[in-house]
Homo-oligomer: 479 residues x 2
């Protein structure tokens, strides 16, 4: 019967069991009917759960088809690498260790190119260094006689295992070579331990390296040449999107605050979603950090050079979050119980909205500048306009107590301090937000320097005009 309540969510077939009829059946027929009803309910519940799960899975694929493609790519790489087992000549070439190639594909193939390169590089170098070191220790153990052999191997495994494991806690190593350390310990243990039994250690090492090379190159080729997913590009557009979301939220929240009483019902639902977009910015630190870690492994692609300053994106992310903290607090103020009366709001409506729009405009322009990787020609004038509107807000606040108010009951009187009180935090947060938006612009300008963004066409034109002499400027002044 579990499914009955869930069945009401609109599906093709349902077992409608009103309370009365259910009782009727229980009394009228017997065990079989009840069992059948129970089974039907159970099956229905299962079907609903499965359908729900399937639609969830479908949405994951529909939201980001690259995930589906990634699955297909892994399947393809696996099938390709298994050719090494099916085809005799190749099989004989790399010996019984061809399974390492399959293993390499399974373990190294990551969603992004950066992840794949990072793991492939780690696996290859760690296998090489771990193997070499183990061979050295093995030689040492071999020459020191039967008694010391197991002791030397045991102690070396203990010491290297401990040291390598501890080294994973060092930030730099954790960020770049975490997987490599695992493989280093693995290879070292593998070679030392099997060295005690197997004779042809060097041949085995060669075989293992060649199979890993085969696996890694299949991974790299498929990962880079079939619908590549670049961690760097993802980071780039994540920052751009976050910036746009923040701008939209800021505009929406302030517009909402001042529109509140005029069209209460209309605005209650639709803007809430766009206004809450800033929450993505608050929680994106983890994604940014991991993307930046992978992006440094990627070769030059699209607009990005090999030495693209990915770390600077993290700084922009920090500046954006500083902004978002203020927007979060602003959201709290706006949804607070104590609100300024409508006539107070009306007095500051225009200036506040202007500040929010100007700040949002600056953010959007900066986002566009990153997106197109060109220096914005008008960002300085936009910041100036934002600062002018902030000045206007300051002035409006200063003149607030002298404002004459037409109140329906008591005629004309000056605005009271207490009534103005709830709106002041909103204004001061807007001012703080505008300061922090400048912080975002500064960090983006640093990025523009580091990544040598193009100068936009308009600015180029202006610069060439400046070079032609002051004639143009004078003309403009005359106009």
């Amino acid at each position: 019967m579990v499914g009955v309540s869930e069945a009401n969510n609109g599906v093709e077939w349902r077992v409608t069991v009103s309370e009365g009829s259910s009782v009727k059946i229980e009394h009228g027929t017997g065990f079989l009917s009840r069992a059948w009803l129970g089974l039907a309910g159970f099956l229905l519940a299962m079907k609903m759960k499965l359908l729900g799960f399937a639609s969830k899975v479908w949405n994951i694929g529909a939201d980001d088809p690259r995930k589906v493609i990634h699955g297909v790519k892994v399947g393809l790489a696996l099938s390709l690498v298994s050719l090494f087992y099916y085809t005799r000549p190749l099989y004989d070439g790399v010996g019984g260790t061809a399974i390492w190639a399959v293993m390499t594909v399974v373990v190294v193939f990551e969603f992004s190119v950066g992840g794949c390169l990072c793991k492939g590089f780690n696996r290859a170098t760690a296998t090489l260094t771990g193997g070499t070191l183990a061979l050295g220790f093995h030689y040492l153990a071999d020459t020191s006689g039967k008694t010391f052999e197991p002791i030397i191997i045991g102690v070396s495994m203990f010491l290297l295992g401990s040291a390598a494991t501890f080294s994973r806690f060092i930030p730099l190593i954790k960020d770049r070579f975490d997987y490599g350390i695992t493989i280093f310990i693995l290879t070292f243990s593998f070679v030392s331990v099997s060295g005690y039994r197997v004779e042809h250690l060097v041949t085995m090492a060669q075989q293992r390296l060649s199979t890993i090379a085969i696996g890694v190159s299949i991974c790299f080729c498929i990962c880079i040449f079939i619908c590549p997913v670049w961690a760097g590009g993802d980071l780039h557009f994540l920052i751009v999107r976050n910036m746009e979301k923040l701008a939209t939220s800021l505009e929406g929240l302030v517009a909402n605050y001042f529109d509140d009483d005029d069209e209460e019902n209309e605005n209650e639902k639709s803007p809430s979603k766009t206004c809450q977009q800033y929450k993505c910015v608050l929680n994106s630190k983890g994604a940014e950090d991991s993307l930046a870690k992978l992006a440094i492994w990627e070769p030059a692609h699209g607009l990005f050079s090999f030495k693209h300053p990915w770390q600077q994106y993290l700084k922009i992310g920090v500046a954006l979050r500083r902004c978002a903290y203020c927007v979060e607090t602003l959201n709290g103020c706006i949804n607070s119980d104590i609100q300024a009366p409508q006539y107070v709001k009306k007095h500051l409506n225009e200036v506040c909205t202007k500040v929010s729009l100007e700040a949002a405009k600056v953010l959007k322009e900066t986002a566009n500048s990153i997106k197109s990787m060109t220096k914005s020609p008008c960002i300085d004038s936009m910041i100036e306009e934002m600062n002018i509107s902030v000045e206007e807000l300051h002035t409006a606040l200063r003149t607030l107590p002298n404002k004459k108010v037409t109140s329906s009951s008591q005629g004309i009187e000056t605005m009271s301090f207490i009534e103005a009180l709830p709106i002041i935090p909103v204004t001061s947060l807007l001012i703080e937000i505008s300061t922090r938006v400048e912080g975002v612009v500064d960090s983006v300008e640093e990025l523009a320097e580091l990544a040598s963004f193009k100068t936009s066409e308009i600015e180029k034109h202006e610069q060439s005009n400046e070079e032609q002499g002051k004639v143009v400027t004078i003309e403009v002044q005359q106009v």
Copy 2:
């Protein structure tokens, strides 16, 4: 020469090269001296770098000795498992696949018990399911003739590899079985591919399972019985510490704000560190999420039962961060350029400080309540006191414009609106913070319900008194 400037940081031996003497040597002696000087400088620079790195590594170990112990534990597990290779009888028992036991130890041994159990469980079940499924497909391929055999195996690898890889994007699977999926694909490919060559598949599967079982049990034993690191405990104390940090920051920031001009020099350095502690709270989402993921795998330990509501800690974390966002904005306000004059601050000093102290007290009490896992008997009265102080702040604000001010130049006059302006956001943020602190308390109370926190001794005593009748109450009233 690189090292010369770095050498001044106080080391045992240094090559002091004043500008004059350097020139002298260059002219006086020849290439050899210069080369020697260069080499010495280079070696010194290398030594400084190494020393710096060593001290960093030392600090990592000194800050959290559990990390060093973890390294030793891994070394121990590796040495133990290699016994299976050194000891003949055991070696014969599990066959040439004993290397899988070493591999299992290297891959499964994680820092926390939760991580170790999660990986061990994943590895064991994934090997079992992957192996069984591969055997099924292998049987199917075997019965359908030589022509179809490679096709069936190839297609099944492609389909299962693709589907399993895609399933890693489903949040639930990603959170709990990410590693299992890798091992599933690995085992499936391994068994299908080698099934084409190797005859005794079932024996191999048995061997692999038994070696993995050996590796996993060694990991589990060492991980749980030698200085265990519990992810759940870490999460528990991370939340407690964050709560305390937030309380300290809040107290410190407000105290700093009002003390500012009185003892400027004294307060400039010392409190800044404690005041910035809230930043840990802003950035702890990632750590909380990953600890909670691991904690669900852990058995009952210490104060925590098997079904301890770890997810609720994440909710407390969200509530704490909501608080921290406000504290961040408060920090911005306090460090803003425009400040209220000292006499305005003085008027609100007492009430504001009281609100901050009360809110911090509530946070600390809540932290203590979580730490000791007992319901706090006095939290309600503390919240009441906090709300009373908020009310007092409201009243102080309302009466602010009527306050008479003794200004040295103009005698007594009423406080001006403009001068009071910069302090108002601070007060309104304090009020907002107190609301959000209540949110934290609510989420902790939910935790107390879910984890059935003990009632504290004092409360128990009160309750038993209540049960004994009203005699005691009357006595108390008389006193």
